[in-house]
Symmetry: C2
Subunit: 209 residues, 2 copies
DNA sequence: TGTACATCAGTGAACGCGCGTTCACTGATGTAC
DNA sequence: TGTACATCAGTGAACGCGCGTTCACTGATGTAC
C-alpha cells in the first residue's frame, strides 16, 4: 500500500519560469518506462503521464506530439551511448590503440545489454533522408573507423580497409546483440557478447592481436 | 473505382467440408499485409479480415486469438526461408562446399531483403523457453555449421571452430541485414549486403577462398 | 501601496478511433431414418 | 422419397478498452502603472 503512495500523492507544480523542469521529468519517466517495457510498443503518452503523475494534456506543453517525445528520447539515448564509448576510449592509455578499440566496443555492447528497450529504439528510429555520415549511427561507425586507423598507424595490419573493417565490427556487434535480445537464454549471455566481439576484432587484424 | 470492386464484392463462402481453405486465405492476406506494412505493428485481426473480405469474427474459427495467427505466420515464414536456403544449397555442385555455403547465405540475405516485415517478424517472435538448438533460428545456425564442416573436410582451414564460425557468419549477416533495414538508403543497397557476407565468409577461412 | 492585467504551469473532460474478442444468429448442405 | 435434425461456414452487432489529441479552464505568480 505504502509503495503506491507516490501514485496518489499530489505533484507540487514547478515555480514560475521553471516549467522546463517538467520536460526533463517527462523524458526521464519515458526512459524508465521504456526500460521496463523493453520495447517501444506499449510506450504511450498516457502511460508516461501516469508515470510522471501529471495529466496527459500536460505533455503537450513540452512536446508537440508523440513523435517528438520519441525523438527526444532517441537523442537522449544517443548522447548517453556516445558518452559511454568516449569514456571507455579515454580510460585506456593512448599507446595501445587496439585496447582502446576493444574498450569502446565493450562499452557499446554493455549499453545494449543494459538497455535493450533503448537500444532497439535508437536502431528503429533513424532520421530518414539525412546524410548517412552525419547520422548518429554513421558517427558511431566513423568512430570505430578512426580507432582502427589508429591501430594501423601503430603497425597492426588490417585484413580489410579500415572503413570496411569498421562496418564489419559494427555490424557484427549489432548482430550479436540483436541475437542476444531475441534469445537471451541461448548463447552464453552477456559474457558471450563481449567475447564474440573480441574475437571479431581479432578477426579483422592480419596479425594475432 | 473499379479497383475497389473487390472490396465491396461478396465473397462466396467455401463449400461444405472445405472451411480450412479460409485459414490459408487468412494467412496469405496476413502475409501480404505484413509485407505492405513492413513491420508487425499495425497488423491487426480487423485489418486482416478486411483484406480477406470477411468479418473479423470469422478469423476466430481458425485461430484462437491474435497470438496464434502471428504464430501461424511465423511458421509459414520459417518454412519459406528454410526452403529457399535448401534450394540454394542444392543448386550448387557438391564438390564446391564453399560455393554451397555462399549460396545458402545468399538466399538467407535475399529473403531478408525481399521481405523486411517477415524477417523482422520471425526475429522478434522466437518461441521462448525451448531448447535453443531446436528453435528455428538455432536450426539455421546448425545448417551453417554443417556447411562449414563440409568446407573443412574439403581442406579449407577455418580460423575459428566450425560452430563458432557459423555464429560469426550468421550474426554478421543478420547485423548487416538489420542495418540495411534500418537505413536502406545508406550503404550500398542489396548488393552491399551480399558482398559484405561474401567478405565475411572469406574472413573465417584461414586461406584465401 | 494598490490594482488591473499578463503570463505561467498545469488540468478535466471530452472527442473520435481502432482494437481484440464474444455471442447469439443465419442459411446452406449434409445425414439418419 | 420425404423429413427432421446435425453440422458446417460465416456474420452483425455489440462489449469495454486504451489510445492521441484538443479545448476551454484554473489558480498562482509576476509586471505595469
Amino acid at each position: 500500500m505504502t509503495e503506491q503512495a507516490d501514485l496518489t500523492a499530489q505533484r507540487t507544480r514547478n515555480p514560475w519560469g521553471q516549467g522546463e523542469k517538467l520536460r526533463v521529468e517527462i523524458l526521464a519517466a519515458a526512459a524508465r518506462l521504456l526500460s521496463e517495457l523493453g520495447s517501444e510498443e506499449g510506450l504511450s503518452i498516457r502511460g508516461v503521464a501516469r508515470a510522471v503523475g501529471i495529466a496527459p494534456a500536460s505533455i503537450y506543453q513540452h512536446f508537440a506530439d508523440k513523435a517528438e517525445l520519441v525523438r527526444g528520447l532517441v537523442n537522449y539515448d544517443y548522447e548517453l551511448l556516445g558518452k559511454q564509448m568516449r569514456e571507455a576510449d579515454e580510460s585506456v592509455p593512448a599507446d595501445d590503440p587496439v585496447a582502446r578499440l576493444r574498450a569502446q566496443m565493450g562499452a557499446y555492447c554493455q549499453f545494449a545489454i543494459d538497455n535493450p528497450g533503448h537500444y532497439r529504439l535508437i536502431y528503429n528510429n533513424r532520421e530518414r533522408g539525412g546524410e548517412p555520415a552525419k547520422s548518429p549511427l554513421g558517427r558511431i561507425v566513423l568512430r570505430i573507423a578512426t580507432a582502427l586507423e589508429r591501430c594501423e598507424e601503430a603497425g597492426h595490419e588490417l585484413r580489410q580497409p579500415a572503413r570496411r573493417a569498421a562496418i564489419t565490427v559494427f555490424v557484427g556487434a549489432h548482430g550479436r546483440v540483436a541475437l542476444y535480445h531475441a534469445a537471451p537464454e541461448a548463447g552464453e549471455g552477456a559474457a558471450g557478447i563481449h567475447s564474440f566481439v573480441d574475437d571479431l576484432i581479432s578477426l579483422v587484424f592480419a596479425d594475432q592481436v
